[in-house]
């Protein structure tokens, strides 16, 4: 059924998935749900369900990783009269974006047997935050109202409208650099992004002590040293910190913590491709293909060692390339708070350090480093590029895997 603006339909099933579908664009859009009472206000901040508070405590509303929202009408608390489904453009003011830039978007409602209704969303002008639609009680039953209208004041305007006090919606400032940094300015153009740089000369006899640590710049490539006839075990480690408590609007949502997952895509010389990641229990193997293995999953970041992927250097010649990436499995995409650091250790080579030092992205997946087989050893290149999901990253790096949704619960 196609809905027009203002149209109201009865909802005949309890389990619904509501999705804001839009063509690919540069706009970063977040969906959310506000559970409100008869006066159109939330009873508390927990009634605001979004990426940082992904599940309402009643279990009635769940914000999913792909920005879809699941609703179980049978579990909605009594005081809730209406659930407003919203979309906001992240950082719209600074980026001078609004919903008039989106064409061909639609809100889709799915039930058990497929699509229930689709509501084309169009004719926006200055809005940066829109109410896509409302699920509401009417005479003891649930209905859906195709709203499709919004505000130019972004998430703050939306929150005010639903009775959430907004103190600070600015993202926290980036942390102070811990050491003087080399230029990390981001090159936008694809042709220059992966500029090759000169690999530093291997240590000579006059200089027997290799540097202990090398921090890679974006786009910089360094080759691991082959000691003897084979490479040793390559240990790739991801560590991150838990966010500090902050006074301000998002503090209570971020306190539940960030769960970064370390993972990689691999491509073997025989053409086999795949992923090593906790999601779906693809932990890999060191002695059998893909010769890459993931250690246990650290879901808090509190384990000093973080998460680790190992590559068996003995089989280096069977591996064509490895893309190290991380994604946020739970919690907000607060990369600046996570301060992720990836280290690559290989016997005989200096420790390579890749800091995830580009902030401001709300995307959940970050490609960190690319290892490529060059003459029996690996070159390590810092990438640090953000993607909506693994599938989009896969495409950008021309990997060719088929992606489905997974869970590690």
């Amino acid at each position: 059924m196609q809905l027009s603006k203002g149209q109201k339909i009865p909802l005949n099933e309890n389990f619904l998935t509501i999705k804001f579908q839009r063509p690919d664009s540069a706009l970063e859009i977040d969906t959310a749900a506000f559970l409100t009472d008869g006066g159109g206000k939330v009873a508390g901040d927990e009634d605001f369900v979004f990426y940082g508070n992904a599940r309402h405590n009643s279990g009635a509303v769940t914000h999913k990783d792909d920005d879809a929202i699941d609703i179980d009408l049978s579990r909605i608390p009594r005081h809730v009269e209406k659930i407003s489904l919203t979309a906001t453009i992240y950082d719209a003011d600074k980026r001078r974006q609004n919903f008039s830039m989106i064409r061909g978007a639609a809100l889709k409602i799915f039930g058990a047997s497929g699509e229930v209704a689709t509501f084309p969303l169009e004719n926006f002008t200055v809005e940066t935050a829109i109410v896509l639609g409302e699920v509401y009680r009417y005479k003891g039953a649930w209905k859906f109202n195709a709203t499709g209208a919004g505000f130019s004041g972004g998430l703050a305007a939306l929150c005010n409208n639903f009775g959430i006090e907004v103190k600070d919606v600015q993202p926290p400032p980036p942390p102070e650099p811990e050491r003087p940094k080399i230029n990390t300015s981001r090159e936008r153009s694809k042709s220059t992004r992966r500029e090759k740089i000169k690999i530093p000369p291997p240590p000579t006899r006059e200089e027997p002590q290799p540097p202990k640590k090398v921090e890679l710049r974006k786009g910089q490539k360094i080759s691991l040293v082959k000691k003897g006839s084979t490479l040793g075990e390559i240990v790739i480690n991801l560590n991150w910190s838990q966010p500090q408590q902050k006074s301000g609007f998002f503090s209570r949502f971020t306190s539940q913590g960030i769960d970064l997952d370390l993972a990689c895509l691999f491509e073997l010389k025989d053409g086999n491709i795949g992923a090593v990641q906790a999601l779906g229990n693809h932990f890999g193997s060191l002695d059998y293909p893909p010769y890459i293995a993931l250690d246990g999953d650290d879901r808090t970041g509190e384990v000093a060692s973080g998460e680790t992927i190992r590559v068996n250097g003995k089989f280096a010649d069977k591996i064509r390339r490895i893309l190290i990436y991380t994604f946020i499995y739970r919690g907000a995409a607060n990369w600046e708070e996570a301060k992720g650091v990836v280290t690559v250790n290989c016997p005989g080579s200096p420790e390579l350090v890749v800091r995830m030092d580009e902030y401001g992205s709300r995307k959940h997946t970050c490609a960190i480093a690319l290892l490529e087989n060059v003459g029996g050893t690996f070159s390590v290149e810092k990438v640090v590029e953000f993607f909506d999901d693994s599938e989009k990253m896969d495409k950008a790096f021309d990997w060719g895997l088929r992606w489905t949704v997974g869970s590690k619960d």
Binding site: S4, G6, N123, E127, T147, A149, F151
Partner: protein, 192 residues
């Protein structure tokens, strides 16, 4: 306690209440405030109709540009441009004793001003109602909540009062129309 009506329900006004002379017709609605679009401006109007369901002259159309019927029977209390605030959004007063004899029916309508250009419909309007108040006692006699049956309509005939065997009755109509006030006016025989 006022009688709450369902769509299509007809009730007596003056029968059993012979002293009832002056009515206040209150019309109310809620619209949400959003940026990006124009304000919602809903207008109430009254059409004084003869036996054939048409106006006897253009003056029988009482609205924001013709606030008072020449007979003095129907007076529009003025246009509310935004629909803000509690209570009635617009009110129309009717003096039954002054209604000319050839007028057998008075229809009350609500239309969205400039609906087409503003891309607005009654689907975006909620909690619309009409109530009939005894203007001398202030007592609410009848209330009809329009409910949820509208989506693409831009005009609604909310209710009507009509003569029936020497008495006045009220009919909860609640019919939606596309085309706004102009189309509605033409339908009632007004030269719009």
């Amino acid at each position: 306690m006022a009688i709450s009506l369902q769509k299509g329900q007809k009730v007596d006004l003056t029968k059993g209440n012979p002293s009832l002379k002056r009515l206040l017709i209150g019309l109310g609605w809620d619209t949400n405030k959003y940026d990006g679009g124009a304000d919602f401006d809903l207008d109430a109007a009254a059409f004084l109709l003869g036996d054939n369901g048409k106006v006897t002259s253009d003056e029988d159309f009482v609205f924001y540009n013709n606030l008072k019927h020449k007979s003095g029977a129907v007076e529009h209390m003025g246009d509310n441009l935004t629909g803000e605030g509690e209570g009635d959004d617009e009110e129309i007063k009717v003096d039954l004793s002054k209604v000319p004899p050839q007028i057998t029916k008075i229809d009350f309508t609500v239309t969205i001003y400039d609906a087409e250009a503003r891309r607005q419909t009654f689907g975006q309007v909620s909690n619309a109602y009409i109530r009939v108040v005894d203007d001398e006692t202030g007592k609410e006699l009848i209330r009809y909540d329009l409910g949820e049956d509208f989506s693409v309509e831009t005009a609604v005939v909310v209710g009507e009062i009509y003569r029936n065997r020497g008495e006045w009755k009220f009919n909860a109509i609640g019919s939606g129309w596309k085309g706004g006030l102009a189309a509605l006016g033409r339908d009632y025989g007004v030269n719009v």
